[in-house]
């Protein structure tokens, strides 16, 4: 029970230029090929033993979700074969999708039937679903009136009401409030302790680290690494940095034409902006509390004093999280002539909450870029902060924190 074996799995999608081409191809009965084959997955080979929990990580479009869809049986593989032993519960996408007009009870009951729960058990399960999902009176409302968070709560509760032999989760949990995420995670942990095999697709290496015995890394539809979560995590991190570096060069070229992300008089200009990790390697992914060094290289287009170099880190909503510059930091200034290059280095520690952040960098005179803006590079680097060794917390600021509870003598 709970064992999963994949042998040479592959998934091919046919891409047609026009809707008409597909019909023409069919009518030619194999005579014409008007599609382009796109392999979303190829040569996927792995085995998961009973009770093991495995994380599947990879960038967007790596084939993670396709793999899960094949293993859960909603999509056919184009080649290869697989076995999944035991009762499977899969949370593939948001919500249950049974019927938006039916209420929460009916959707949950139908989902349980689809998951193979027998009739007698369903009536016992439903009150539990209401309780765990904390939907209360909303259970009597049609599901179309639910928020996405509520749909996730209902779907998760219904799918996990009875412990499955295999649980497949596809990032579905990343939607919804932090409270329910934690609640569902602890349920998944409990299942794992009871011997449920877990297959977990995520963007979040932190979750893999804390939940999985093993991680699979997919890249461009191939299985590139199958190892301990830490090993895979580090490799993934390096790959992201590499990839973003390539992308950055393109972005840079791109930005030269566009005034929205780059602006300024260009009396001095930024040549490159990178953020290095502890090892001195350019990185995009940082654990909470990891050291980071921002390096900005600049070039003078004329004889002038080396300008102030400033940066600001913003959260995903664009709110300023932290910013500083060489003027405020009292960095010794240099005189320079045309063509001179300088490098400004800011050494900091990522005391930030998990999430994505953007780094914008500017060159200007004195203390603020309103004064005289030479070069302003908006969102020069995108950073991702993932949970690290630190105890879990919420918010963007990782403040130093200690807690203690003391017994006090009763008052009065």
């Amino acid at each position: 029970m709970g064992r999963i074996v994949a042998r040479g799995l592959g998934k091919k999608f046919r891409v047609y230029r026009r809707a008409r081409d597909q019909l023409l191809e069919w009518m030619s009965r194999g005579g014409k090929t008007l599609h382009r084959a796109e392999w979303a997955l190829r040569d996927i080979e792995f085995e998961v033993s009973d009770g093991e929990s495995v994380g599947i990580i990879g960038m967007n479009g790596a084939g993670k979700s396709t793999l899960l869809r094949i293993l859960s049986g909603t999509t056919l593989a184009s080649e290869g074969s697989f076995e999944v032993h035991g009762r499977v519960a899969a949370l593939l996408e948001l919500g249950l999708g049974i019927h938006p007009e039916f209420d929460g009870w009916q959707n949950a009951a139908l989902a349980c039937r689809l998951l193979g729960v027998d009739e007698a058990e369903i009536s016992k399960i439903l009150p539990w679903v209401q309780e765990f999902s904390e939907l209360g009176e909303h259970m009597n409302q049609p599901v179309r009136t639910y928020s996405t968070g509520m749909q996730v709560r209902l779907a998760f509760s219904a799918a996990t009401a009875v412990r499955p032999d295999v649980l497949m989760v596809d990032e579905a949990l990343s939607v919804g409030d932090a409270y329910f995420q934690h609640k569902s995670m602890s349920r998944i942990r409990a299942f794992r302790a009871e011997g449920t095999t877990l297959l977990f697709v995520t963007h979040d290496p932190g979750a893999v680290k804390s939940l999985c015995d093993r991680a699979l890394l997919l890249e461009g539809g191939r299985l590139v690494l199958d190892d301990a979560p830490d090993t895979v995590f580090d490799y993934y991190n390096a790959r992201i940095a590499q990839r973003e570096k390539d992308a950055e060069i393109e972005q840079h070229k791109d930005a030269e034409g566009r005034s929205t992300t780059r602006s300024g008089s260009r009396e001095a200009e930024l040549v490159s902006v990178v953020v290095d990790d502890e090892a001195g390697q350019p990185a995009r992914l940082f654990r909470v509390g990891a050291p980071a060094t921002i390096r900005c290289r600049l070039k003078l287009n004329g004889a002038m004093e080396c300008p102030t170099v400033g940066f600001v880190i913003r959260d995903r909503l664009g709110a300023d999280v932290f910013g500083s510059n060489t003027f405020h930091l009292d960095v010794e200034s240099h005189a320079g002539s045309d063509g001179d290059t300088f490098e400004a280095e800011f050494r900091t520690v990522m005391h930030l909450g998990p999430g994505t952040y953007s780094l914008s960098v500017a060159l200007h005179r004195e203390h603020a870029h309103v004064d005289s803006n030479y070069d302003w590079w908006d969102r020069a680097v995108l950073l991702e902060v993932v949970p690290g060794e630190r105890a879990a917390f919420t918010g963007v600021a990782a403040l130093p924190i200690e807690a203690v509870v003391r017994r006090r003598p009763a008052e009065g």
Partner: protein, 261 residues
């Protein structure tokens, strides 16, 4: 495939039950709406064709006959249309479910066929009630309805499944079916008796497989006449053919459906 479906019978049964509830209990007037709709149609046709246009059925002179004639053809035809159209769109409509849940895909057309049969039986039950009140209950020939219903549902489901699967790949299929059914309706002697057509047209309309089926319904309800099974025999072959086509298309393509939803 059938074994898989059997395991999901409670899912199928409760989907049919929920659809029934959603249709009949969702609105303030509930069940009334699904009766009012065909009733309005029958009323219009009866008044316009029966009274204003003075259409009389050959050999039958009283006022209620045309109404019964109309119902006898229209109610089964509506079921045929409902089954065929909903089968055509069922995989697209339930795309969300197909992408999220694993279950035998053939359950969906079965739910459609069962739902439309339930609807038919409710309205048809009302018609029988009215006929009893009018003292025109047909008696034993009524049993002839059962094979007729099985035949027409099989034809509708067979072609419907084939079209439904194709509709996922080419959304045009749904539109084609809609237009086709409009012509098909007027090419079937439902609101007019076959005998009012010219000989050449009669021959043409007789080639329409629904003609013999509708004629059999009209025979049962209007003239207490058991169907001419010999005329229906080719339809059994047609039903088997439809089922074979539906099955072949389904087997060949159903697995790829989720890639296109």
């Amino acid at each position: 495939m059938l074994d898989g479906l059997w395991r999901y019978r409670s899912f199928i049964a409760s989907m049919v039950r929920r659809e029934f509830q959603a249709r009949y209990l969702g609105s303030a007037l509930g069940a009334l709406w699904s009766v009012l709709n065909p009733l309005a149609m029958i009323f219009i046709y009866t008044v316009i064709f029966g009274q204003v246009m003075r259409a009389r059925l050959p050999g039958v002179e009283d006022g209620t006959s045309y109404g019964i004639f109309l119902c006898a053809g229209l109610l089964p035809w509506n079921m045929f249309v409902e089954t065929l159209q909903r089968c055509t769109s069922v995989f697209v409509d339930q795309g969300n479910l197909l992408k999220k849940m694993t279950f035998p895909r053939a359950a969906l057309p079965i739910i459609v066929a069962a739902s439309s049969l339930v609807n038919f039986m409710i309205i048809f039950g009302l018609l029988l009630l009215v006929m009893v009140l009018l003292g025109r209950f047909p008696g034993w020939p009524l049993l002839g309805l059962i094979p007729l219903l099985v035949l027409q549902q099989t034809i509708a489901v067979g072609f419907g499944v084939a079209l439904g699967v194709l509709n996922v790949f080419f959304r045009d299929a749904g539109h084609v079916v809609g237009i086709l059914l409009q012509f098909w309706f007027w090419f079937t002697p439902i609101i007019y008796p076959l005998s009012i057509l010219s000989d050449r047209l009669q021959l043409l309309v007789s080639l329409n497989p629904m003609t013999a089926i509708v004629d059999a319904y009209q025979g049962i309800l209007l003239y207490d006449r058991s169907p001419n099974w010999l005329a229906i025999l080719p339809h059994a072959a047609l039903a088997l053919l439809a089922l074979a086509i539906g099955r072949a298309v389904f087997r060949r393509l159903a697995g790829e459906m989720t890639d296109y939803l």
